[in-house]
Amino acid sequence: MKLTELFDKGEFVITGEVGPVKGCLRSTAGSKLPQCAQEAELVRNVVHAVNVTDNQSAVMRLGSLAASVKLKERGFEPIYQMTCRDRNRIALQSDLLSACSLGIDNVLCLTGDYTSLGDHKTAKSVFDIDSVQLLKIAKGLNEGHDMMGNALTQSTNLALGAVVNPNFEPLDLQLLKMEKKIEAGAQFFQTQAVYDSAVFEKMVKKTEKFGVPIQYGVVIIKSPQMGKFMNENVSGITVPAWIIEEMGKVAKQDRKKKAIEITAKLIREIKPMVQGIHFMPLGWADIVPEIMKAVSSAA
């Protein structure tokens, strides 16, 4: 089911991110379930849909569309992530037509991490169009025409998602772009990871009037090292000292328990402000159901 239909019904929409594998998915006799499918299985009972990343962090992997289709075949609702980094406007439009033809109902339109952050640093970055333009183009395909105004034999029917970073300073500039995304066609938003409910509240106060559903983005902090690493290396995310300290206090084998506690606390604080949660578990998908259990048991 399209995410927009879930939001329209008033559902609190939970999604989880999975990263396609670095390799192909041709099944052979005795082949194991690929990791992205394993991760999706771990959250099957708690999420409405799974985001499938598009060569995340500019690291070359299985295509988001192929992985989305494979997950759909396994009964998941995929959100096909599409970035502007690797394809020009012809390829992006063509892939949106392909996605819809292959049964994909949701697409998340992103700019994409820069090529130099990934594992093919010498590649030519494309960025022919930006995420606002991609949303407008995708909306046009839904309405039956390509970006040049040429009629399609059949329109796409895709729910269009976008991202916003509440940590961005100046926030008003980020929200100016968010408004442009809404005008272009964005129907729901997923946020960058936020670890401070005050930061989130500041954004929500300004975005409430936009009337679009927002899912709170959650990246589970797995260790104090990861928190420090993210502060030093991941732009646009700040992990507060208290989380790093708390994770540092517990023994290694108790970290998952602590991560459940911390993440559930953050979600409880932010939940009343949003219309859903988007998990980016980065390998710890197994604790997502327990986090949600902890959230609801305390409610």
Partner: protein, 225 residues
């Protein structure tokens, strides 16, 4: 100007392998400003080549080697020596190399023309003799009127036209933490001008056909053909 950096000397000697009599041509335009191909660098290169066992027939820097007329005027008096040359080494941008080749062809000379520099783009000099930065892509449809005189096509790593990506931190770009986020610069500039509302306008995808190579400029008609 066109920015240039010197190629490693080993790469130059490799390109000149098998050629003995060399003429060195610099450029007293952009390459002089970059201190890579002005009269001084051309003289230095001639000395290095001599030490490397080459015969240097002559070394000179035309006023602007990318102007066919100026290059021809500089080379005309050297025509006899040029006829002896096994190869030319040009310390100029890629344009200077190709104009030099064309001048030689116009003389009826088929001599290899080698390049001693790497061209690195349209550069604006911030500090003479120290620093130049890239600020213009020559995209063929300037949008500086809409962006407070700061070019996102060039100064944003992703050439975003409708605002920043989410990656900037402390005002710096996710690609290079030493570089300012172009969109934050634009935002601050538009705020100072009292024109923030203008940033709300949807910017259409760029017409990259205007950058389709190779462009041809009709100077008389003042248009790209």
């Amino acid at each position: 100007m066109i920015g240039t950096t010197p190629k490693p000397f080993e790469e130059i000697t490799d390109a000149l392998k098998g050629y003995d009599k060399i003429a060195v041509i610099g450029c007293d335009g952009c390459a002089k400003v970059c201190m890579t191909g002005g009269s001084d660098q051309v003289a230095e290169m001639a000395e290095k080549l001599k030490k490397n066992g080459k015969s240097v027939l002559f070394a000179m820097s035309p006023e602007r080697t990318c102007y066919v007329g100026k290059t021809k005027t500089s080379l005309d008096p050297q025509l006899d020596k040029l006829k002896e040359a096994d190869a030319l080494l040009v310390l100029g941008c890629g344009g200077a190399v190709q104009i030099t080749r064309q001048v030689l062809e116009n003389y009826g000379l088929t001599i290899p023309v080698k390049v001693g520099l790497d061209s690195v783009g349209h550069m604006d000099t911030l500090i003479m003799g120290e620093l130049a930065i890239e600020q213009c892509q020559e995209c063929g449809e300037c949008i500086l009127n809409e962006t407070g005189g700061i070019c996102p096509v060039t100064k944003c790593a992703k050439s975003l036209l409708n605002g920043p990506c989410g990656g900037a931190e402390n005002g710096k770009c996710e690609v290079d933490s030493k570089r300012d986020c172009a969109w934050i610069l634009i935002y601050n500039r538009m705020a100072a001008l009292g024109e923030l509302d203008k940033l709300r306008r949807f910017m259409e995808p760029k017409d990259y056909s205007k950058m389709a190579k190779p462009r041809r400029l009709n100077i008389k008609e003042r248009k790209v053909e």
